[in-house]
């Protein structure tokens, strides 16, 4: 994504795979270039009980796209009379993005969830909907390079929910503290078959 638009409003997102669980996290900053305006800007949206979607990028597109995706998820549920699966959602988001191939939504979406067999799934995609599914972690936003560095070094496979929470939190905090366009607190969701653990984190306030 063009870094001009990527860093206009700032913000970063991150998702990680654990043992029978997934975690998804974001910072809370909303800014205009170097000026911070909001410190409670949501970048993670609940898709179903077991799927969350996170988006970093241009704030207006995050809001427009999250509303559009919410509408499509609701329509899917009504038509199919069942909850959407993570992979289905991923390709639904991807095709929504590709529809705007030549005037794209400037977002980096991540999807984290558990499927009907409670098998964890994460993926990210670029602004025109090229999906990448991984079996460790995915990152996006203004601090993507920093996140890639911390995740690559701190991540290990098959973490239990509490350990996964600590790993994703440490990765996110370390990365956003080195990025002026991200920070001002963070939100972490850990999805397990039984429940969703949601916690907010303190970070530097500058």
């Amino acid at each position: 994504m063009s870094s001009e638009i990527d860093e206009y409003n700032g913000g970063s997102v991150l998702a990680m795979l654990g043992k029978n669980c997934v975690a998804i996290a974001s910072d809370k900053r909303f800014g205009m270039k170097l000026m911070t305006l909001g410190t409670e800007f949501p970048k993670i949206f609940q898709a179903t009980d077991k799927i969350y979607i996170a988006m970093a990028g241009l704030a207006t597109d995050i809001q427009t796209l999250s509303e559009l995706i919410r509408y499509k998820i609701n329509m899917y549920k009504l038509r199919e009379e069942r909850e959407i699966e993570p992979t289905t959602l991923a390709y639904m988001v991807a095709s929504t993005l590709y529809e705007r191939r030549f005037s794209p939504y400037y977002v980096s979406p991540l999807i984290a969830g558990l499927d009907k067999n409670n098998k964890p799934y994460i993926c990210n995609m670029d602004l025109i909907g090229c999906v990448t599914t991984t079996n460790d972690f995915v990152v996006g936003g203004a601090a993507d390079d920093c996140l890639l560095g911390t995740c690559e070094a701190l991540y290990e496979p098959d973490l239990e929910p509490e350990d996964l929470f600590e790993t994703i939190s440490q990765s996110l905090i370390s990365a956003v503290d080195r990025n002026a366009a991200s920070g001002w607190g963070a939100v972490v969701h850990v999805l397990t078959p039984e429940r969703v653990i949601t916690r907010t984190l303190k970070t530097r306030q500058d």
Binding site: D145, C146, L148, G149, T150, E152, A153, L154, Q170, I173, S174, A175, D177, R178
Partner: protein, 215 residues
Amino acid sequence: MSFYPYTDNGGSALAIAGEDYCLLASDTRQSGEDYKIHAGYVPKAFKLTDSCVYAGVGFSADGVALVKRVRQSIEWYRHAHEKTMSTPALAQMIATVLYSKRFFPYYVGTILGGLDENGRGVVYSFDPVGSFEAELHKAVGSGAELIQPFLDNQVNLKFLPEVERTPLPLDVALQIAKDAFTSAAERDTKTGDYLEIFIIDREGVNVERFDLKRD
């Protein structure tokens, strides 16, 4: 095609200051434009004195030219004052050398790792025109964005405020440096091949070499 006097040869370096040692690590890959890898073993870190090691990343030729010039100055200093230059003095001198080419800079990110006059570990980092700062840990180069937050996390446990601070043992610092580079080599195409770690303590300077990803 007009002549452009610089290229980016990539590569990363990091330094960690301990209580009574300093550690400076850098990869040895020399990259070119368009995903080219020129060579696998072209060191960018050099010993300057018995208590100081330099690493320069960015434009390799300038990095080498800078070392040559700095070593010359160290030699002159030794003849003039009959002593080896201290690390803080060297840092100031490098800043002056870099600034002397303010309008045709040496295109290098520089770090200096060593011991100060009291035998404590110090790290200095410079921008291409000589702004510099003493730090406890620092990463520079193409993988700096990946490595720096990891060092913040591991070296002084910045994000574990309740943990008691103890001096970082050398073996832990070494492991952090190796982990940092294996991670950086995984994601940064310009970092890889081999890792050279310089360990500077009262005994002098020792180098260790390790393998990194070669693709």
